[in-house]
């Protein structure tokens, strides 16, 4: 089974794994930020990722806006859409069992995915690669765009993590995650903060969608299939731990890539098998913090 693994194949799959891992990391980080503050698992995260890719595609085909513009515009547009969703549907459910928030965002995901499929069909739409050249490494050619995706997502992840851990705004956010009423008593508008945080998390999902558009085809179902894997990643990393979400996102992407190289038929399920293993060994998650098990 180890025969016939050339360095090209091996490094190619590791790179592919790192790219998938970039998306897993960005998506699970967004989920973790939203969950930390609102205790809601954003089931619409996949649909919002897909919307980001679609906004980029629409901006290019309808208005001729190039990739770099879409990278700025799509997260803002989809983030605003997210804030509307939060204000209309999630805020009324805040005081209830958090399962209702999950179900409401699931309903939003169904509606969004259904409407987009209705309008644009279920087949994938191509999006031109904005960096159609490669970097020669001797044993393989590294596509420049893929390198850009890995580097850019790493910057976003580390940047967001640093902002939450080391800025004043991040401190408010962490405080409001733990004691919302106390923070409110200090004169901080927590409901507005929740709306903005949800919008930020949704914007992150849309940003991943724009990054994904030139690699995968833009299709309505791209979100839901990614989301279930991201859920497993979040379960492995431990809910609400942002660093855990980022680390396990990249690690599991690479694991998936390696499985594709060595044992392709298990590539679809390897992350779920890791989830089972993690449930066995660390029932509260690999990077879980104190108030994890709820």
């Amino acid at each position: 089974m180890f025969d016939g693994i050339t360095p090209q194949l091996l490094f190619g799959q590791i790179l592919l794994g790192l790219i998938n891992g970039s998306f897993y990391a960005m998506l699970s980080m967004g989920l973790a930020i939203i969950f930390g503050l609102m205790n809601v698992v954003n089931f619409a995260h996949g649909a919002q990722y897909m919307l980001g890719a679609f906004v980029a595609w629409l901006a290019l085909t309808e208005f001729g806006l190039p990739y770099w513009g879409a990278l700025l515009i799509a997260p803002v547009v989809v983030g605003l859409f997210g804030m509307v969703i939060e204000r209309l549907f999630l805020r009324p459910l805040q005081s209830l069992d958090h399962l209702y928030g999950l179900l409401a965002t699931y309903a939003v995901a169904l509606i969004v995915e259904g409407l987009i499929t209705r309008k644009y069909g279920s087949t994938g739409l191509p999006y031109d690669n904005p960096m159609p050249y490669g970097i020669r490494l001797g044993f393989m050619v590294l596509p420049a765009y893929r390198l850009w995706v890995v580097a850019f997502s790493l910057v976003i992840c580390v940047g967001t993590w640093l902002a939450i851990e080391h800025t004043r705004l991040g401190a408010y956010l962490r405080a409001a995650s733990e004691r919302p009423h106390m923070v409110e008593a200090f004169g901080i508008n927590v409901p507005r903060m929740i709306t903005l945080t949800y919008g930020f998390g949704v914007g992150l999902a849309a940003l991943s969608g724009v990054l994904a558009a030139p690699i995968y085809q833009v299709s309505p179902s791209m979100g839901s299939s990614a989301l279930i894997v991201v859920f497993a990643v979040v379960v492995i990393g431990g809910m609400g731990s942002i660093a855990g979400a980022i680390a396990s996102g990249y690690a599991l992407g690479v694991v998936e890539g390696l499985t594709k190289a060595f044992y392709p038929s298990a590539a679809n399920v390897v992350i779920f098998l890791f989830m089972i293993l993690a449930l066995f060994l660390r029932p509260s998650g690999l990077f879980a913090s104190r108030d994890e098990v709820r």
């Binding site: 549907f89 459910l93 179900l103 309903a107 509606i111 259904g114 279930i228 497993a232 679809n268 066995f280």
Partner: protein, 327 residues
């Protein structure tokens, strides 16, 4: 209570006559989803566990029962029992792993497990992959009774559904069911009284998985095929919608919800994605505005009206109304 008996008898009478008016396969689909929704209601409505991957038991049992019928000559009820047992065994294993986490995480884990089962069934040699399992034969019941006509098969499905509903009723009204409700409302308190809450949750999960398996095995014999759709997250979402729309934790609610959603899907089948969009809209409205569901809101309304008329008749006894409210 007398009114309830009358309603039940009326329902049975309607169910007996229905196949002469409505296409039996549509009715059997409703009955299968009634069982499926009851199994889900046992978990979420009574034990407070949101399983977001219930389709794995439904679709898994469909494949197992179909495989038994295709490769052996055993009678129908043995194949269905095989599907039920397989689903219950799967439920025991997955439940054992998943109940280590609570609430929202439990939902995410069960969803991930259902996707794992989906991929396994996609690649398994006996399932037919993307094409699904075709041409499942309907063997004779008990090796004697021929059920190949849809009309006679309808009465078999109706009888199985009646037994399943009765079993569900007995489970939720047993001491076991009371403990489940107590776990839903306050798990720490139940443990402090000396019950092993995890054991009760695992039993409930296994029972519910078996019941979902019964629904799936029946559906495979009704349609005579099993597909990956039966295992997909869309079906897991559908059963959540049915249960919530009808009324969580009520006996009649999920049955009502199953009927409405199956009829709606049937009506919208020719309109592509509108079925999904409609499901999303209904779920959103139910979650935001009518969390008690149709039956729950209806009984709350009748309760309110009854109290109002009674308190108007006896205005001098205010604590009567309070006692009613407490009850």
């Amino acid at each position: 209570m007398a009114i309830r008996m009358l309603i039940a008898i009326a329902c049975i009478a309607v169910a007996l006559v229905a196949p002469f008016v409505i296409y039996p396969v549509l009715l059997m689909t409703i009955l299968c989803f009634v069982i499926f929704a009851c199994s889900f209601n046992l978990l979420l409505g009574y034990a407070g566990l949101l399983c977001f991957g219930h389709a794995m038991f439904f679709g898994g049992a469909a494949y197992i029962a179909g495989h038994i019928l295709k490769t052996t000559s055993v009678s129908l009820e043995v194949a269905i029992a095989g599907g039920v047992l397989a689903a219950a065994a799967l439920g025991a294993v997955i439940g054992w792993l998943a109940i280590r986490r609570r609430g929202i995480q439990f939902a995410m884990i069960t969803l991930a497990f259902s996707q794992l089962i989906y991929f396994l069934l996609l690649q398994a040699p006996f399932t037919g992959g993307e094409n699904g399992m075709q041409g499942i034969p309907r063997h004779q019941l008990l090796g004697l009774i021929d059920l190949r006509s849809n009309l006679s098969f309808y009465y078999f499905v109706l009888a199985v559904t009646a037994v399943a509903i009765f079993a569900f009723y007995r489970i939720v009204h047993s001491p076991f069911g009371e403990v489940l409700k107590a776990i839903r409302d306050n798990e720490a308190r139940v443990e402090s009284v000396g019950f092993d809450a995890e054991k009760f949750k695992l039993i409930a999960f296994t029972l519910s998985a078996g019941m979902a398996g019964l629904a799936g095995a029946l559906k495979a014999t009704v349609y005579q095929f099993a597909t990956l759709t039966d295992v997909s997250w869309q079906v897991s979402g559908e059963v959540i919608l049915m249960t919530l729309l009808g009324g969580l934790g009520t006996l009649a609610g999920p049955m009502f919800g199953a009927g409405i959603i199956v009829l709606m899907n049937d009506y919208l089948a020719g309109f592509g994605e509108w079925a999904l969009i409609a499901q999303g809209c209904i779920l959103l409205v139910v979650v935001v505005f009518f969390r008690r569901g149709f039956v729950g809101e209806l009984s709350a309304l009748t309760g309110y009206l009854l109290r109002r008329t009674r308190s108007r008749k006896e205005p001098s006894v205010p604590h009567q109304a309070i006692a009613d409210e407490a009850a």
